[in-house]
């Protein structure tokens, strides 16, 4: 059983999603449209996404090993013909950090393997370090866009980067190589021959 599973966002997830949209850090780091919206409007909007707008945008629920909701991932700007989309995340406060990162990976895997998307575009506001450090972001960004979003009374710059199939293969190879180095080091310490 994988640590994080990805399932379709459903009606019963709406209250948690609203809670997240109303959270201060989420509003500063992603979008603050929920500040001025009533609960009813937010619920109606998310219901429309579930029922009518699956061709344009989809929301997924990231669940932990016991089925508990860890957060959400959503794809927007879906271009079915060109097999590209933008992927975003909102992880509930108690799951940010390690488990959140696993959720990010699971959503990337789902969008690529099951929805057959070839290029995934990431956008993160530069000051948002909820899921990754400023250093990682500076390394991965391909485009930096000033005045990208205006949230909670401030203009924010955004980092954009795309991930292709090739990028994913490379990342996987790097991860395996790092694991091999670590394994070699452990073997050396325990006196085993490599």
């Amino acid at each position: 059983m994988p640590f994080v599973t990805v399932r379709h966002f459903a009606d019963e997830d709406i209250p948690l999603r609203l809670q997240l949209l109303r959270e201060a850090r989420f509003q500063a780091n992603l979008s603050d449209f929920a500040v001025a919206a009533s609960d009813d409007d937010l619920v109606a909007d998310v219901r429309r996404t579930i029922a009518e707008r699956q061709d344009e945008r989809r929301i997924f629920t990231l669940c932990g090993p016991k089925g508990e909701v860890m957060g959400f991932a959503w794809i927007t700007s879906i271009d079915w013909r060109n097999q590209t989309c933008e992927l975003s995340f909102g992880v509930l406060p108690r799951h940010r950090g390690g488990p959140g990162a696993l959720g990010v990976q699971a959503a990337h895997d789902y969008v690529r393997a099951e929805l057959n998307m070839r290029v995934i575009v990431n956008q993160v506001l530069e000051h948002n370090t909820m899921l990754q450090s400023a250093r990682t972001m500076a390394e991965s960004r391909q485009v930096r866009c000033d005045y990208d979003s205006y949230t909670v009374g401030e203009w924010r710059s955004a980092c954009y980067w795309s991930l292709t199939d090739e990028d994913m293969r490379e990342q996987r190879a790097q991860k395996l190589a790092r694991r091999r180095v670590l394994a070699d080091r452990i073997r050396a310490r325990t006196g085993e021959l490599p």
């Binding site: 379709h8 966002f9 459903a10 579930i50 029922a51 009518e52 699956q54 989809r58 690529r112 393997a113 099951e114 929805l115 057959n116």
Partner: protein, 149 residues
């Protein structure tokens, strides 16, 4: 004889979602890539009927070009569940033949074979599942002659 319980569209979608892997490709829908609302819409467009038969879901949709032929699907290898569906189609829909489009290696294959279906060919790379294309096999079954129509 296994009882068939007809499902309303919302229960059909929920049932397919819970059936997981076995429901992928059921009458052409896929609960892994489609949410309940999409599944409901797709099944309605096919004029499909979904039934529960024990732990199995079975379903049928009419062939719009030949009203005596039905597309059929099942989420498991349970022969009795499929037989119950075929019996329903003969008795209440006056079906004389059935077609099933089933992914290579799907559990339902075994039930089709036991119910006398024959393989009629393979649609190459017809679906995409977990990062790879898969073939879909075409199975055909003939209803036993009951009475002259």
């Amino acid at each position: 004889m296994t009882d068939l319980i007809p499902l309303d569209p919302a229960s059909a979608a929920a049932g397919l979602r819970e059936a997981g892997e076995g429901a992928r490709g059921f009458l052409g829908v896929d609960p892994v890539t489609e949410n309940d609302a999409l599944l409901t819409r797709r099944l309605a467009a096919l004029d499909a009927q979904v039934f529960r038969a024990g732990d199995t879901l079975v379903g049928a949709a009419p062939n719009p070009h030949q009203p005596r032929q039905a597309y059929v699907a099942s989420t498991s290898a349970d022969e009795a569940a499929l037989r119950a569906l075929l019996g329903f189609l003969v008795t209440y829909r006056r079906a004389t033949s059935y077609v099933a489009l089933v992914e290579r290696g799907a559990a339902a294959t075994e039930a089709l074979r036991r119910c006398g279906f024959a393989e009629r060919g393979a649609l190459r790379d017809h679906r995409h599942r977990s990062g790879a294309p898969v073939d879909v096999l075409v199975w055909f079954g003939k209803a036993a002659e009951t009475c002259p129509s």
